[in-house]
Amino acid sequence: MGPLQVPDNEMIDFARPHTRIGLMVVLVCAFVFQTVLVYSDDTAMQMAPLSPTALEGRALWHEHNCQACHQIYGFGGFLGPDLTNAAGRLTPEMMHEVLTDGVGQMPAFGFTSDEIVVMHAYLVELDRTGTSQPRKFANMAPLAAVDAVAEHAPMSVEQLAGREIYAATCQSCHLLGRDNLVGANLASDLITSAATLNDAELANVLQFGRPEDGMPGGLLDPTQLGEVAAFLAWLVENQTSLALRLTSSEESGIPWFTYPR
């Protein structure tokens, strides 16, 4: 008998072969039970499968190893942000820019237009499956979200004045975080507009409006123009924090198992 084996008369009761076999049987049964629960659980399988377009996007996701930097439901690399609910905050234009020219540490992948379309479709359908991160806030009204963010990123006097003008004048048509259909016209998301237009274009729109799209001009005096421009600049600067508040429901505690939408 080699040194790895123990003589029978020195065997401890617990460690007799039949006891060990019994122990392993119990442990394996526990494993099998938990495994059967996982594979018989229809909760996730009942979700609609990805469309063919989204599936192409998912294939691109694997091909370029996006998960090395980004996460889905918190799983993946930590160099970039979680993209589970990215479709809710990235416009197709922003996605186009990021996927062709890159941003920060993200390389320029040079995706074609078709590839961007399928990747966008994948992220949109992924966004519908649930929430990847717990949040304290939920479905805030635009001004409520602005005020919540302002607690941590205070506004200047000029910006506060701009906020008041937005509340009194602009809010009826323009929302924050999404476009708004006003009659036959589409009033664009103010954050996206402010981020996209340069200073001259913004000043022009604020002063003269866009009559062809239903936006009247001449609503603001020169002082108010500056205040609204300052407020829009603050919105752009804090767009990430605003986006997180504009897409959830009511304030909730730290969740146990389910993250509220």
Partner: protein, 471 residues
């Protein structure tokens, strides 16, 4: 120079596994260094323009870090088979050569494909399925070797043999399960895919840990000469708790995914049982500190582990186990899990466990195996103040790394919950690469002292010395 006459064919198998492990470790360190530099934006821009992408080097780092862990474990297992279980037969030697070559080809293919950007895009198993197939075939050949030698009187063997057996078989299952994404129906359902993927990834790590714990108990038994612990009730109860955890607590990775609540509750309750392990390790550390000082092989006036580098590594692993198992218990509590999920806390825990627990134990095993092949005059290169300082530096830098990642991740999680940007993002861009580089420097320094020994075994001057395991 006289060739050492006492190297058996089994010894050569052990040496081969150790050498491959060192090679894998080198690739893991280089991959990790290049990857972490991407956290510095200007450096990332330059690297990206040069075609050196994070998406290639992160999987290289994780794959070859695991290869290091498996390599040393295989070396120890083959050592146990060769010296304590009747030796390796001719057929077993052929099988060992076969699986070694399969691993080498798989490793080379994995590296080559990842470098050029060909990947599966999966966590842990970032290589293409062909590599998986080669590795799996090699692993099954190893399994055949293992059970061919261990099956006789299997249920009477010490607990570490069962740990190795469970780890090896369990790994086979989880490795195959990790490729479930190849099934079309699953890939079209991302949430279901994540459920299965993280069942596989979590249990894959658990299976790897069993190999490591078996190695620890084996080395401990050989060093102390006390075969009682590996047959004791305590060892078997700890094995039971560990096994139950590995088999059922994987859902603590997926609390937030839509799935049956009972799966999550089982995972939560079983994860909390790890408190038993925390308490036991605390007890062991307390006992160790109260134990009478042992005479050191070289210097009778020192504490038994002061210049004993093997002891330094194993004691380090004990402390890391205490901290990281407690850490694991905390982050398995669902509300805390919700806060830190998807942050660097998870990275800190993963790296901490694989460095602090697994690698420390395996470095101890590595050093212990070396002291068996070299005559007494060469022992000082291993059991040496400088080597020990590298080991201490490694531990301190790893502790800083894990602490920083935990801090950065916790702050990020709380800010994220409150809808705020990550306040330490710019700090992390400096700290993570900085501390990671310091850690790598200590690791390279340590391996510069130990690794040449494993490549020079055959050429040492022969001195008649009985290896420690035959005393």
């Amino acid at each position: 120079m006289v060739h050492v006459p006492s190297l058996s064919a089994g010894d050569r198998v052990v040496l081969t596994q150790l050498r491959l492990a060192v090679g894998a470790l080198a690739l893991a360190l280089v991959g990790g260094l290049i990857a972490v530099l991407h956290y510095i934006p200007p450096v990332a821009t330059v690297l990206n323009l040069g075609g050196v992408h994070f998406a290639a080097f992160r999987p290289i780092h994780t794959i070859f870090a695991h290869a290091w862990i498996f390599g040393v474990n295989l070396a120890v297992i083959y050592h146990a088979i060769d010296h304590d279980s009747g030796g390796l037969s001719e057929r077993a030697l052929k099988r060992a050569r076969l699986h070694t070559w399969l691993f080498i080809v798989a490793g080379f293919l994995a590296f080559a494909t990842l470098i050029v950007g060909v990947t599966s895009g999966r966590e842990y198993l970032g290589f293409i399925p062909l590599v998986s197939l080669l590795f799996l075939v090699g692993w099954i050949v190893f399994l055949i070797n293992f059970f061919a030698h261990m099956r006789h009187g299997f249920w009477k063997r010490p607990v570490y043999v069962l740990m190795w057996a469970v780890g090896a078989c369990y790994f086979t299952y989880t490795f195959i399960e990790g490729h479930a994404y190849l099934l079309p129906g699953l890939d079209a359902r991302p949430v279901a895919d994540l459920q299965v993927q993280w069942k596989s990834c979590g249990t894959l790590v658990g299976s790897m840990n069993f190999l490591v714990y078996g190695t620890l108990l084996y080395i401990g038994e050989r060093m102390s000469g006390d075969s009682g612990y590996a047959q004791s009730r305590t060892a078997w109860w700890l094995f039971t708790v560990g096994c139950l955890n590995s088999f059922t607590n994987f859902a603590h990775h997926t609390y937030h995914l839509p799935q049956l609540e009972i799966i999550k509750w089982i995972a939560f309750v079983v994860s909390m049982l790890e408190i038993i392990i925390v308490l036991r390790v605390l007890w062991d550390i307390n006992t160790m500190r109260r134990a009478p000082k042992r005479e050191l092989l070289l210097d009778e006036t020192r504490h038994w582990y002061e210049y004993d580098v093997v002891g330094t590594f194993l004691v380090s692993a004990k402390w890391w186990t205490l901290v990281l198992v407690f850490h694991a218990v905390l982050i398995s509590i669902p509300p805390l899990n919700a806060l830190i999920h998807g942050t660097h806390v998870v990275l800190g825990h993963g790296m901490g466990s694989e460095i602090g627990i697994d690698t420390m134990i395996l470095l101890g095993a590595f050093a212990w195996l070396l002291t068996g092949w070299y005559p007494a005059q060469s022992l000082p290169r291993v059991n040496n103040r400088r080597t020990r300082w590298y080991a201490i530096g490694l531990n301190i830098s790893a502790a800083i790394l894990v602490s920083w990642l935990t801090l950065a991740g916790t702050v990020h999680g709380i800010a994220r919950y409150n809808g705020l940007p990550h306040p330490l993002a710019s700090w992390n861009a400096v700290m993570f690469p900085l501390v990671g580089t310091v850690f790598a420097v200590f690791f390279v320094g340590l391996m510069c002292r130990l690794a040449p020994l494993v490549f020079g075994v055959e050429a040492r001057v022969a001195v008649d010395q009985t290896p420690p395991w035959e005393r």
